[in-house]
Amino acid sequence: MKIRAIHWFKYSSPQNFYFLAGRLWPWFAVLAAVLMAVGLWISFFVAPTDAQQGQGYRIIFVHVPASQMSMFIYMVMAAWAGLGLAFNTRLSGMMASALAPTGALFAFLSLITGALWGKPMWGAWWVWDARLTSELILLFLYLGFLALQSSIDDPRRADKACAVLALVGVVNVPIIYFSVKWWNTLHQGASVSLTSAPSMASTMLTGMLVMVVAFWMYSIAAALARVRCIILERERHTEWVKHAVE
């Protein structure tokens, strides 16, 4: 019997990953579009009206996926950054830089959709409570990462500095996640958790999960498409790039 090993390290070369990403990202984009269409349909036509919040609760279908992605992308970004520091692979830093803008956008969307939800339900666009403040810090961490990246000319040195920043900032992610438990807050607790039954109607939950997966697919598509630009830019003086762009 022949065991066919997958040559993972083959794809840690930017050249191979460039072509792999080029083949993959359109599929993720299509999946994202299809799932978003289904998710929107459930959000507006299947999920019932909420007993307490009327139609206003429907913001949950973009707020929760955006918030969740903002935290998860940060973890993935830090993981790539950590790999880069440990193995000194060029691709790791490129992936971390490709993820940062998308993560920052989701953190921004999380805060804005949260404000649009807070205003009618709490009577305030913003309160300085633990959940909101720690999410704001997450946005600043992303912006800090991007600023640091663009302030260092040598991309390899920039990767290392940014990796340290990304890894230190990881401490903020569990703070965001558990903030609703650790401190008194206006923000409601988790609607879905691993340890207890979800506290919402099943069609609402389905809609939310479909949107979460759709946002995942979108993020992967955006990161892969962006990392292709970063690879071309950084490898611009190599022979393969010259062949690829001809």
Binding site: T49, F61, R226, C229, V245
Partner: protein, 59 residues
């Protein structure tokens, strides 16, 4: 289905600004991000091709 008319759907039970604002902004951000990535790629490819052409004037 909880909507009796199109106008009721757009009114969102009085939360139109908040609900449509959230969904609209999210959609806009995603579309803009993808357009920016495409523009970045188009510019980069143009740059790289120009560079190539100036390196080999004979061809």
């Amino acid at each position: 289905m909880q909507w009796n008319s199109v106008s009721e759907f757009f009114a969102m039970g009085g939360y139109a600004l908040y609900v449509w604002g959230s969904f609209g902004l999210t959609a806009a951000v995603m579309v803009i991000e993808m357009v920016l990535i495409r523009n970045q790629r188009t510019e980069l490819l143009r740059d790289l091709r120009n560079e190539l052409r100036s390196e080999s004037p004979s061809s």
